[in-house]
């Protein structure tokens, strides 16, 4: 519809200026770039694990303070995915699990324990934008193999457009 209006407008301008019409073709090529953008809110600092009662292990700690936003225009339909992995193996005895809320129409996987291999967390993502979808982390530590101390675990998220 817009194209038709543009064409008619162009013809009208030419007619007013020249009073004559000469047919010349011009081909305009333009490219719409693939957009596959993923952003995250700030880094997460968990509260320290609570000291367990004698004979008990650490209780898991959860955090839901972070979120992600995305823009995608994959031509493959609603088939984009978000995957995640750890950039390096987690410290001994430590597990990091995550759940991502899904944009409208997409599908979220259940809580997933992260490893150094990509795992799909959200699938069937269609074209469009989505803001501030919740990320929920759950960390677990096993007393038997987790010495005291502070550590930083880096999670890499990847939004992949449909092939």
């Amino acid at each position: 519809m817009n194209f038709n209006k543009l064409l008619l407008g162009a013809i009208g301008v030419i007619a007013l200026q020249s009073g004559a019409l000469i047919g010349v073709d011009q081909t305009l090529n333009y490219t719409v770039p693939a957009v596959s953008s993923l952003t995250l809110s700030g880094d997460v600092t968990f509260p320290e694990f609570a000291t367990p009662a004698p004979g008990e292990n650490f209780a898991p700690v959860t955090d839901s303070s972070s979120s992600y936003s995305l823009s995608a225009n994959s031509s493959g339909g609603a088939n984009s995915t978000i995957s995640a992995k750890l950039s390096a193996a987690a410290p001994s005895g430590l597990e990091v699990a995550v759940t991502l809320a899904a944009p409208t129409g997409a599908t979220s996987a259940s809580e997933t324990t992260l490893s150094t291999s990509d795992q799909t967390l959200v699938s069937e993502i269609g074209s469009g934008s989505s803001l501030d979808q919740a990320i929920t982390y759950s960390i677990k530590a096993d007393l038997a193999s987790t010495p005291p101390g502070a550590s930083t675990v880096v999670v890499t998220y990847t939004l992949v457009g449909a092939q």
Binding site: I11, I22, L94, A144, V154
Partner: protein
């Protein structure tokens, strides 16, 4: 007049989507694990022993056993913790008590005659959470040394420390 060039625009929309594209982002998670070195003892309290001769002219000693107490440990500091055990006060003459703790996996238990000085009753305790392991007490009464007396109580004190 210079002929004006008319332009007929024929637009070909060439919309090319680059497939298989991807975007990525990273999250840093800061995690802190506290040191844990915790010990608790659940005592079958008040546990009571009656010591009496089996029969007149029989053995001059008697012994009772109790295995109703338990201990629990949580530890992530090292793999060489020990538990010390002592009595909080002297026992009456003729009375002695031994204690033995069931060992969690990898730990080493030894029966001790309890005194008011700390003794190692469990060693080589590894990291982990160990719940409800049994404590076994033996209470001996030697009539040759005992005087008749009302009930007395003894308190055992356990300490979880590094073995190194």
């Amino acid at each position: 007049m210079k002929a004006l060039r008319g332009i007929l625009l024929l637009l070909f929309a060439s919309c090319r989507l680059l497939e298989g594209s991807s975007g990525s982002a990273q999250h840093s998670l800061n995690i802190s694990v506290p040191p844990v070195c915790a010990l608790s003892v659940w005592d079958y309290s008040p546990f009571q022993y009656d010591i009496y001769p089996v029969f007149p002219g029989g053995p001059t000693y008697s012994a009772v056993q109790d295995g109703n107490s338990t201990f629990s440990i949580s530890n992530n500091i090292d793999s060489n913790r020990v538990i010390l055990c002592r009595l909080s006060g002297e026992l009456p003459n003729g009375i002695s008590i031994t204690a033995k703790l069931k060992a969690p996996p990898g730990a080493v238990s030894q029966q001790i005659g309890m005194t008011t000085s700390d003794q190692i009753v469990l060693s080589s305790i590894g990291m982990g959470a160990f719940a409800n392991y049994q404590i076994i007490y033996f209470v001996y009464g030697d009539y040759a040394a005992m005087k008749a007396q009302p009930r007395f109580s003894a308190r055992a004190v356990y300490t979880l420390i590094s073995g190194s």
